[in-house]
């Protein structure tokens, strides 16, 4: 049968109330994996029934996020129990399952029940029920249980007001359940009728009746899952009358004895005040009951105190393990979220921020060796010592963990990872020896483990942290190339010396295995560097150098530009230019060569107007405002969006080279039409400069601009001197700014 989800409803209600305030307390949490800031995988050693209770700062429950099995958790067990009970009957297993779980089966069950009551033959479709006493009992049980179930489930996803109202269980049916519980001698059925009566009383108009019924009957009920499910109802009834001490105590008993209900009990455990918890402890009769209460408190509030108290009560308590993983995960996350610039800086941070109490507690328990999984404690003590900068101590703990650890793949990987972190974070200076010692483990970490979250094993933080740490060591040793290879810096290539050193390194033959590993991590290739040099040379007007560099960039040179880069339209419409038919399709390198060709013609005074105009268009289209942004797209410059990094603004947003050649074209123009065109193009440059200073160059620019215009010098000239040209009329037709300037709209 289904159980209900009242607690889930309560949680949603409280969220809804918060909604009015428009609050966002949790700040911009992204959907990062659990190994974003963790290297300690709790799944390695801990019983799966505790898994949802692992540390998950951004979720209600680890991995499952929310508890969503309220109505389905026991379905499989329920079906299996009844199949066993009905063994030998004519009912196929599938039909047993359908009758138990499928709401649509209710009508058939009612028909069968009525027929049996009247001693009439069963309907044809239910013939399989046969006439065995057990199947009759099954039908009778289902007939009542379906009525109780209707009261225990409500849908919150409904626009029907009535469905949001509570629907108390039918009192007559509940009384009948109690009667059948009392009368039935078959222990299987008796147990189930007991549970139905518990459920009926819990969902009745007076919840408290479940307490009285439980007290009256508990001695005769076997301590099985149904018993603990029933006990949860009792805990809920106490909670609803605000007797938190008893409620929490009973939940802790269920938590302890019924692993399947661990998430439910953890979710419902809510000591409102300190006195509630203290009173719960007083109700606990045995050390293990007290330990269960501490375990829930550990989950709810304070792992450290919980571990201390449980350990005093029973060092072999199984609850210690999940609490330990929470303690370690919390401790590491606090440190792993901190950035650092050098190894010394990192050490200082560890000394200042590591949790000394946690370290001492875990170290002591690990050394005592009294827990049921000593290797987990050795591993944790080792890791906390790593995080406290005690590398030699950590090593001894890892060695001890290694000897007793289960021989699973994930356990092996976990130990290898923590040992690597220990070795690396103990290194102050990288030399050939250190590199050699680290190499096999780093190859494993970077290259052999799968990319992306493939399993529970947490290693992505370690991968990122190790690169950062190694880079910081090289930075201190002034090895800029190696520092850059392990941790790419955006500004690295803005220093010309860096560029040359990196080129020399990448071209160097006979690299060591360590160097090859580093190079394999690096996202920039030699081709990217040549392409970057080509592009920056082109902006500087050095076309020969640009062509020479571009020729050496196999990945860059043949990249096609999307539109004709020599277009100079009235309106900048990139999409139109990209879609237009292009007789010649320019690549980065052929574009540069064409520019060079025309620059040569200008130099020798051949068709200066046309060549200057086309070169100017080429320079114009190389900018952010032009149709050939692809020209500057590249891994090093990394300017793909609307925001241009200040370091590249003068190149990508500037119009100076275009302006120089538009002016040259204007000087060489012989007709008013030609002059009108040049004047207008210069106005476009004015406009771009205006947008640059007003929007793009501002630090808080986020990629959107208002439509704005000014009376550009070019507009004035166009109106004042070239009003008679047909180009003037075309501009009026196509350029809204110009129409506004003229007062036409």
């Amino acid at each position: 049968m289904k159980t209900t989800s009242t607690k889930k409803l309560a949680a949603l209600f409280s969220l809804a109330v918060l909604g009015f305030y428009g609050i966002a307390i949790a700040c911009a949490d992204m959907d990062w994996g659990y190994d974003y800031d963790s290297s300690f995988t709790p799944e390695v050693y801990v019983d799966a029934s505790y898994a949802p209770l692992f540390f998950a700062p951004r979720d209600v429950f680890y991995d499952i996020v929310f508890e969503d099995k309220y109505t389905t958790r026991f379905n499989d067990a329920l079906v299996a129990d009844w199949i066993t009970y009905l063994k030998g009957s004519q009912l196929p297993d599938v039909q047993i399952s359908t009758m138990l779980l499928n709401d649509a089966a209710t009508t058939g069950i009612n028909d069968a029940y009525n027929a049996l009551q009247k001693k009439q033959p069963l309907p044809a479709n239910l013939a399989a029920l046969g006439s065995s006493e057990k199947t009759k009992s099954f039908v009778e049980f289902l007939y009542h249980a379906k009525v109780i179930e209707a009261a225990s489930t409500t849908s919150i996803d409904s626009w029907n007001y009535e469905e949001h109202k509570s629907n108390p269980a039918n009192a007559v049916t509940t009384a009948q359940m109690e009667k059948l519980f009392t009368q039935t001698t078959d222990p299987f059925l008796k147990n189930r009728y007991w549970f139905q009566a518990m459920k009926g009383y819990f969902y009745s108009l007076d919840k408290q009746k479940v307490v009285a019924f439980f007290e009256k009957t508990k001695a005769s009920v076997p301590r099985n899952t149904l018993y603990y499910r029933g006990l949860s109802y009792v805990a809920g009834a106490y909670y609803s009358r605000k007797e938190y001490a008893t409620s929490n105590y009973l939940y802790s008993v269920v938590f302890d004895q019924c692993p399947a209900l661990r998430t439910v009990t953890a979710y419902n455990f809510h000591p409102q005040e300190q006195k509630d918890f203290d009173a719960s402890l007083a109700l606990a009769k045995t050390p293990n009951e007290k330990a269960a209460l501490w375990a829930l408190l550990g989950y709810y509030a304070d792992e450290k105190t919980a571990i201390k108290e449980i350990y005093k009560l029973n060092p072999a308590s199984p609850h210690l393990d999940f609490l330990l993983t929470r303690l370690v995960n919390k401790a590491e996350v606090k440190l792993n979220e901190t950035t650092f610039t050098s190894a010394a800086d990192y050490r200082r941070m560890l000394k200042e921020r590591s949790d000394k109490d946690a370290l001492q507690l875990v170290t002591t328990v690990a050394n005592d060796g009294k827990t049921i999984k000593p290797y987990l404690w050795h591993l944790a003590a080792g890791y906390l010592n790593v995080l406290a900068d005690n590398h030699a101590v950590a090593t001894t703990f890892f060695d001890r963990a290694d000897k007793a650890s289960p021989k699973t793949e994930i356990a092996k990987q976990q130990l290898q990872l923590l040992k690597l972190i220990n070795t690396l974070s103990g290194i102050d200076r990288l030399d050939a020896n250190a590199e050699g010692a680290l190499l096999p483990d780093l190859i494993w970490l970077y290259n052999m483990l799968p990319k992306g979250q493939q399993s529970a094993f947490r290693y992505h933080h370690a991968a990122e942290w190790s690169k950062h740490y190694i880079s910081s060591l090289y930075q201190t040793q002034q090895n800029t190339v190696m520092a850059e290879l392990f941790n790419r810096q955006e500004k690295f290539y803005q220093t010309p010396a860096n560029l040359e050193t990196m080129k020399a390194f990448l071209q160097k033959p006979g690299k060591s295995a360590w160097e090859q590993l580093a190079m394999g991590l690096y996202p920039i290739t030699l081709s990217d560097i040549f392409e970057y040099q080509a592009v920056t040379s082109a902006y500087a007007g050095k076309m020969d150098a640009a062509i020479a560099f571009m020729e050496q960039s196999p990945n860059g040179k043949d990249t096609e530009l999307l539109g004709n880069p020599f277009n100079g339209k009235i309106k900048d419409c990139h999409d139109c230019d990209h879609e237009a038919t292009q007789k010649v399709k320019y690549t980065k390198v052929t574009f540069l060569k064409k520019m060079k060709e025309m620059l040569t013609f200008i130099e020798i005074k051949q068709d200066v107007y046309n060549n200057s105009l086309l070169v100017a268009n080429g320079y114009y289209n190389m900018t952010y405002f032009g149709n050939a942004r692809v020209f500057y797209y590249g891994a090093i410059m990394n300017q793909y969006g609307n925001y241009i990094d200040p370091a590249h603004q003068s190149q990508l947003l500037g119009c100076a080279p275009a302006r120089q050649y538009y002016q040259k074209a204007l000087d060489a123009a012989s007709t008013p039409e030609q002059k009108a065109k040049c004047v207008y193009m210069l106005a476009k440059c004015d406009r771009n400069d205006f947008y640059t200073s007003r929007y793009h160059a501002k630090q808080d620019f986020y990629g959107d601009t208002d439509v704005d215009f000014k009376a550009w010098e070019g507009f004035k000239k166009l109106k004042g001197e070239y009003e008679g040209t047909s180009y003037y009329k075309e501009v009026i037709k196509e350029c809204g700014y110009f129409r506004k300037y003229l007062g036409l709209e």
Binding site: F13, G19, I23, W159
Partner: protein, 348 residues
Amino acid sequence: MRIPMQHRSVCGSFLLHGVLGCIIVFQLASCAQPKPSVSFYYWKTVFNLSPEERAVLKANHVKRLYVRYFDVELSEGKAMPRSPVGFASKPEGWELVPVIYVKNEVMLSNTLDIADLASKVMTLVGSINAHEGLAAPSEIQVDCDWSLDSKETYFKFIEALRAAGVKTISATIRLHQVKYVKSTGVPPVDRAVLMFYNMGHIAADSSNSIYERTTAARYTQNLHDYPLTLDVALPMFSWGLHIRGNKVIGLLTKVDDNVFLRDPNFKMKAAPFFEVTHNVLKLDHYFEQGDRIKIETVTTTDLSEMASDLSGELPATPGEIIFYDLDNFNLKHYRHEDDFYEKISSAF
């Protein structure tokens, strides 16, 4: 309610002159600057007024209550109602205005059927009223912190509510929606209620996210030009922020200084902070030594200040001041005068 009766009698005497005459006289009467009436938001899931709440309503001549009927949010991608209000006592003696809080996510959903949602909202409001034997409401208030991306859908939703038969629709307006009215737009409602609270960020510093005069001043200068008639919603709640390190990790609703003053596990520091001196469980939260609690509250002086500052900026005297929210805990902070809320509204 003396003022509305005057309106009725004036209109009544001009009955033969038709509706237009009425409107003109109404506007003339408005020029006499009637004082705003007092109302409250009722924001609990079960409507059940305590004797103290009833006394406050009586002392302040409250005739209307704005009752949160339900929220609308997305559930598996579909707009669904959440926690519809239940009535443990009959709301007799007050006109109820149902308030529907719509999460912005609903208006951002690209699969939303606007007309269908409006119809469902109206049906559910109707069911709730039918269940309680209440007459069909003459007004519905919609509360939604709409954004630039949801503006269009939200405004269409309001139109759809109107098409579904709602006579008067009001909407809450947040301060940023007044300041940036050009981009955020004006909802097509009959009346707007300016939410004059929650103006700051929830933060670990000493600022007050509910109300701060300096923050308010950044917005109030734009009130003159707001194109809708504005009533005003004022805060009368307090809460605590649970701070660990420099992060706010929890919200403690309905708490004030008194909750911590007598507790030896908390030490009062420079206002508005308390510091946790021992690990302790309290208020269904766990407080760790070194954690801080920030109490954010709205004093009687704050409320007077709001009335004074706003009345200088609003284009017209508001018709109604609605206090958020009616609740015993909140009321005890303003208990020194029975008609405190009427006095605040009279200051407009």
